[in-house]
């Protein structure tokens, strides 16, 4: 049974087209932006859409998104407390 975090990692890889990265390559705690995976502002926009499309969570500003997207851990926590079916 896949965990939320595994599913989330797969979704991140797919949405952001991370060609050479597998689920195992992404550390739960590693920073997603800046260093770590090195994602940028366009990726942030795509992840905002992922939250809306995949989990029904709507963020109103990009600034609101920053702390949520710090790592897979923070994203998974946020999803678990806010997801609407």
């Amino acid at each position: 049974m896949k965990t939320t975090k595994e599913t989330l990692k797969e979704q991140i890889i797919q949405t952001l087209n991370l060609e050479d990265i597998t689920v195992d390559d992404i550390d739960d705690d590693a920073p997603l932006f800046g260093e770590g995976l090195g994602l940028d502002s366009i990726d942030a926009l795509e992840l905002i859409l992922l939250l809306e499309r995949g989990y029904g969570i709507k963020l109103s500003t990009a600034a609101e998104a920053r702390p949520i997207f710090k790592s897979v851990n923070t994203m998974a926590e946020f999803i678990e407390s806010n997801a609407k079916e």
Partner: protein
């Protein structure tokens, strides 16, 4: 040594601030903005925009064209180009050999959903005529046909710098002797696709935009078309000159400019080099000035690098018209020509508190005695174009 440049003998413009040059000038003088709630375009994006105050049927009627046979982009383009050709007073023979360099980012995209939506839902294709009108080249062919422009033609599409690049290309063709008369400009109709796309980049403002202002939070989209007629013919009286031009690339990121605006700096310097003048020769700068935090910041950085402490009157007119995409470079070329002709620098519409740490944009229309005006158009993909105009 100042370069005389290429002679402009006609101009035409359609936007939310007016259909035709006279109405447009009236709005520039009074500062009347065309931005408001979207009335003529079905969309779920809740933002204001600068819509042209004519329906497709009304435009077709004005042009003597059959309704429902042309994309809105084509109708806008044809209306503006007809005015430019009219002012230029081109003989039918000259028109038959005149080159047409048009530009657009949307082409027939406003109408494409009518063709594509049933297909996407598995119901088979919609009316084929909309597919026919989808490509960017279609509007160029249709306007050429409607107006009898019979020479070499092409369609440029470089996002927000398209219209300026069309004019630049026309000037190069005349200067090289490849063409004697050129009609050049751009057109874009407002559509759900573009609204949705810009919304996905989160660069739209939910209210009327505030270019060059502290706390600005995004742009308004607009629609429109503008064209100029340029010629090598020594005999024709001019309404202005295109003295300098340069297209460069920022080579930094697809949708954002580098912090110091290197590409814009290079296009402004390059245009001045072409015109054979220095920064002190420019009396008015019409910025690209979309009111996104990134654009205005980087464009100002570039301007300050070039002019240092002595920046001439400057401002953005997108607070009046919205960002008309491909039309913007051509529309703002017309605004510069009008500024020089009327001896008036246009206020930076929508200005609230000027950006901190920068000289303020022009708060109200001011007298302009200078000979030259410069217009910037900065597009997605780092495309930067600067055009320098000279009084007639």
């Amino acid at each position: 040594m100042a370069n005389r440049g290429v002679k402009i003998i006609g101009m035409g413009a359609v936007s939310s601030i007016g259909v035709g040059i006279d109405a447009t000038l009236e709005s520039l003088r009074s500062g009347r903005s065309g931005i408001g709630p979207i009335k003529n375009c079905a969309t779920t994006i809740d933002v204001p925009a600068g819509e042209v105050g004519l329906t497709d049927n009304e435009m077709a009627g004005l042009l003597g064209l059959r309704p429902h046979r042309h994309s809105r982009t084509t109708l806008l383009a044809t209306l503006a180009a007809r005015e430019a050709i009219g002012e230029a007073g081109l003989a039918p023979d000259t028109l038959k050999k005149a080159a047409l360099i048009s530009s657009t980012t949307t082409g027939g995209m406003r109408e494409t959903p009518l063709f594509y939506a049933p297909y996407a839902k598995g119901e088979g294709m919609g009316p084929l005529s909309h597919a026919w009108r989808h490509p960017t080249a279609n509007h160029t062919d249709e306007m050429a046909s409607a107006l009898g422009i019979g020479g070499w033609r092409t369609t440029i599409s470089t996002a927000c710098s398209s219209g300026a690049n069309a004019i630049l290309t026309g000037a190069m063709m005349i200067e090289s002797g490849m063409a004697e008369t050129v009609v050049a400009g751009g057109a874009d109709a407002l559509c759900a696709f573009t609204l949705g796309g810009f919304n996905s980049l989160k660069i739209l403002s939910g209210e009327a935009c505030h270019p060059l202002s502290e706390g600005r939070d995004g742009l308004n989209l607009g629609e429109g078309a503008a064209y100029v007629v340029m010629t090598a013919d020594e005999g024709k009286p001019s309404c202005g000159w295109l003295s300098g031009w340069r297209n460069t690339n920022d080579a930094y990121h697809q949708t954002a400019m580098s912090d110091d605006g290197a590409g814009c700096r290079a296009s402004m310097r390059g245009a001045m080099e072409k015109a054979g003048i220095g920064p002190s020769g420019i009396g008015y700068i019409n910025l690209h000035g979309t009111a996104t935090p990134n654009n205005d910041q980087t464009e100002m950085a570039a301007i300050e690098a070039v002019w240092g402490g002595k920046i001439p009157f400057f401002g953005s007119t997108k607070g009046l018209t919205g960002h008309t995409l491909a039309a913007s470079g051509a529309l703002e070329a017309v605004f510069c020509l009008l500024a020089l002709r009327e001896r008036m620098a246009w206020a930076s519409a929508g200005l609230t508190t000027p950006m901190e740490g920068h000289p303020p944009a022009l708060g109200s229309n001011g007298p302009l005695e200078a000979e030259y005006a410069l217009s910037n158009s900065l597009g997605f993909g780092g495309n930067c174009t600067s055009l320098i105009f000279r009084k007639a």
